[in-house]
């Protein structure tokens, strides 16, 4: 019955859409125009083309195997070869295969793992799932032969994209720019992934900030971010769906970073204000054909390395000592530190932890450009005003476990002014601060708390079930 309904609804929708003539196959990732507009038009185009080649579009995404993204893999063996037509056999389970029958796979490509093409990747022109035949694009030096093994990758990307489109896109935007349709109503704004910066990570920020781990992203997506509009997605998303959507988020983040890296590089020589310079076109052309392709690989390698670095064993911050007893003395020491000059928490969070310290009243400088912001108060890396947390409320966006608070104080909150203290403070001192910070909501509650919620006395009064 439900199938029939779906058909009817689909037909109705199709007839509606046919009228509008929207061609979704041309959907594109939005350009980071704030950056790209600084370039010469030709340089801007080159960047766009690179991104199209290596990432594709939302409905036709490319699994660039150079990046440390788990695209989902299906292994197989070549059976017969007829020019560029390969007939293959998958070793995968039938259920996996189902997710392979996607147009996206054609852009994912095959990576040969044995035979004369071992280690080489080729893009596909067509995939016929019924007969398990591929048609490859030209690009292999020698023809594959029967018996060659390959890995076809990409179904996670497709699965992730679908889930992302359904659940995340309206806030985080198609390209992960944090500018979806509902974003403008939210404070704080949804994360713009394109800087590759995530706030609630388990990783260090000194000497250089380490990326978020997959587990960090999973925690955020599973538990949500209390106190913000980022909701919890478990149990709605199942384990394999979480995996797929996490990979998609990482992929979008890498895409954004690579875009930024390319623009930054090109901006040096080929910025917009040089359009009148003699021979700039010629010079750009030479650059694009000679140096640029290597640079693309280089920057992808760099970005990729940072992300795979986060997955290395031992990256999550684990203190050497467990949390000491949560005694009055420990809290007191924590409070002294909080108010003192060594940790300087008071500058932002204020003497009672309400988030109203003196720095929120001052004009601050943008650390990247060294310019003073037009309005008073703190700003985050994305240029949005930000308030230090009101610690009396007992809402912890990055989690309320002692280890979470420890990590926040140890490494700071990336992308925000909240600084790391791994150098300034000892472990014991950080633990004292944790004990103090966790006690603030209850200390301030006792004397003058706001009136408790009114408790309904007579359950009959509101007893209507709807």
């Amino acid at each position: 019955m439900s199938v029939r309904w779906q058909t009817i609804v689909a037909l109705m929708l199709a007839s509606l859409l046919a009228g509008c003539g929207g061609d979704t196959s041309k959907a594109r990732f939005a350009e980071n125009s704030a950056l790209a507009k600084q370039l010469l038009p030709k340089a801007r185009k080159a960047v766009q083309k690179t991104l199209d080649d290596h990432f594709g579009s939302p409905l036709d995404s490319v699994a660039w195997l150079k990046l440390p993204v788990n695209y989902g893999k299906a292994e197989g063996t070549v059976k017969t070869v007829d020019g560029q037509k390969l007939s293959v056999e998958f070793n995968a389970e039938a259920s996996d295969l189902e997710s392979l029958t996607s147009p996206e796979l054609t852009r994912a490509g095959l990576l040969f793992t044995s035979g004369s093409n071992a280690g080489k990747q080729v893009l596909l022109a067509k995939f016929d799932s019924k007969n398990s035949t591929f048609e490859t694009l030209p690009g292999l030096e020698s023809a594959p032969s029967s018996g060659d093994q390959f890995v076809a990758a990409g179904h996670f990307l497709r699965h992730g994209r679908k889930l992302y489109a359904r659940h995340c896109q309206h806030c985080h935007g198609v390209s992960g720019d944090g500018d979806g349709t509902t974003a403008k109503y939210l404070n704080p704004r949804p994360r713009d992934y394109r800087l590759g910066v995530f706030k609630f990570t388990s990783t260090a920020s000194f000497p250089a900030p380490i990326k978020a781990t997959r587990d960090d992203l999973k925690r955020v997506i599973a538990l949500g971010i209390p106190g913000t509009y980022m909701p919890s997605f478990v149990p709605m998303l199942k384990e394999n769906e979480l995996t797929a959507v996490i990979e998609y988020v990482r992929w979008l983040a890498m895409r954004g970073e690579i875009e930024k890296g390319l623009v930054t590089e090109l901006k040096g020589e080929y910025s917009k204000d040089r359009s009148k310079d003699d021979g700039i076109d010629k010079s750009l052309e030479t650059y694009l054909s000679e140096t640029y392709p290597n640079f693309v690989n280089e920057i992808a390698g760099e970005v990729g390395e940072k992300w795979s670095g986060a997955e290395e064993e031992g990256t999550p911050i684990i203190p050497k000592k467990p949390r000491p007893q949560d005694t009055a003395e420990s809290r007191h020491r924590g409070k002294e530190l909080f108010l003192g000059n060594k940790a300087k928490c008071v500058n932002c969070h204020g003497p009672t932890g309400r988030g109203n310290g003196p720095m929120t009243e001052d004009f601050q400088k943008n650390p990247d450009t060294n310019e003073t912001y037009a309005e008073r108060g703190l700003y985050d890396t994305w240029g949005q005003p930000i308030k230090p947390r009101d610690l009396t409320r007992g809402i912890y966006r990055g989690g309320r476990r002692p280890i979470d608070i420890y990590r926040r104080i140890y490494a700071g909150i990336k992308g925000t002014p909240m600084p790391g203290n791994s150098q300034a403070l000892s472990e014991d001192e950080i633990w004292d601060l944790v004990n103090y910070a966790l006690s603030v909501p209850y200390d301030s509650q006792a004397p003058k708390s706001p009136k408790p919620h009114s408790v309904a006395e007579h359950s009959m009064d509101h007893g209507h079930a709807n």
């Binding site: 909701p231 709605m236 949390r323 007893q325």
Partner: protein, 269 residues
């Protein structure tokens, strides 16, 4: 043509009855038998009403069909105009009134057991197992630490979870329902529980799950664009498993990078 109309008007009630009779086979029915005893009593009320409605529906439709059919064959008699019958009016006003009054009285004990605090099972009001706060668009849950009582205000050792409510089976338990923003509704279809969550109020709900299992917990009040996201689950489990769950939650919440047994702070508890 007369017969056509007769058949036409008879076709629809028959189609409606066949369709309704087939619904359970398509899964358009209750999600299984109720997991609570009270839910079964609610189902019984539902079935009672269904039976009354069915009898009345079939009765009136048969009467209508009979009248039409008879008239279709009767070419001699003329129709005559009437200002109504006082007796008939009385009958069809009083009969439904009696039925409704009967239902209103008959369901009272179920309603009382479900809603009236004075009749809540013993032990529920004194120690609610959790506070469930609806929020756009998730369910945030606060349990008291094992061995403690739930307080109106958050306590330092409270345990937190989101979209994942646990409750023991075999005993009546109560939760406190709140809303942080707009109106939501706490809906446990398998337990036949539905209750609005209203900002500014703390509404008690009790239930006694008789069966282990994972049950859907939904929001049943259109509360905003993300309404569909408010899908959580209730894990009904044996008392020991429930206590273990709370301990696990506690260990996770106290996690400081070391297994629970190594921790100074945790040993003390």
């Amino acid at each position: 043509m007369r017969k056509f109309w007769c058949l036409f008007f008879m076709f629809w009630p028959i189609a409606a009855i066949v369709y309704s009779a087939m619904s359970p086979a398509y899964g358009w029915w209750f999600p299984g038998a109720s997991v609570t005893e009270l839910g079964q009593r609610i189902d019984n009320l539902f079935y009672l009403i269904l039976i009354i409605i069915t009898v009345v529906f079939i009765g009136t439709q048969v009467a209508l069909g009979y009248a039409l059919w008879k008239a279709a064959h009767n070419k001699d008699e003329k129709s005559h105009f009437s200002h109504g019958s006082h007796n008939l009016e009385v009958i069809w006003s009083v009969a439904p009134a009696v039925i409704l009054l009967f239902l209103a009285l008959y369901q009272m004990d179920v309603w009382r057991d479900f809603r009236v605090k004075a009749y809540f099972p013993e032990g529920t009001i004194e120690s609610p197992i959790a506070e469930v706060t609806a929020r756009q668009f998730e369910w945030r849950i606060r349990y008291p630490a094992p061995g403690k009582k739930l307080q109106l205000k958050p306590q330092p050792d409270d345990l937190y979870a989101v979209n994942d409510l646990h409750a023991p089976i075999g005993r009546a338990v109560m939760i406190q329902l709140r809303s942080e923003d707009v109106q939501h509704a706490f809906f446990l279809p398998h337990l036949r529980i539905k209750q609005d969550a209203i900002p500014g109020q703390v509404i008690p709900i009790w239930f006694k799950a008789e069966k282990k299992g994972l049950f859907e917990l939904l929001c049943a009040e259109l509360c905003g664009w993300g309404h569909y996201k408010m899908r959580a689950q209730l894990t009904a489990e044996r008392e020991v498993d429930f206590q273990d769950y709370l301990k696990k939650l506690q260990a996770d919440q106290n996690y400081d990078g070391f297994p629970a047994s190594d921790s100074v702070a945790k040993k003390e508890e």
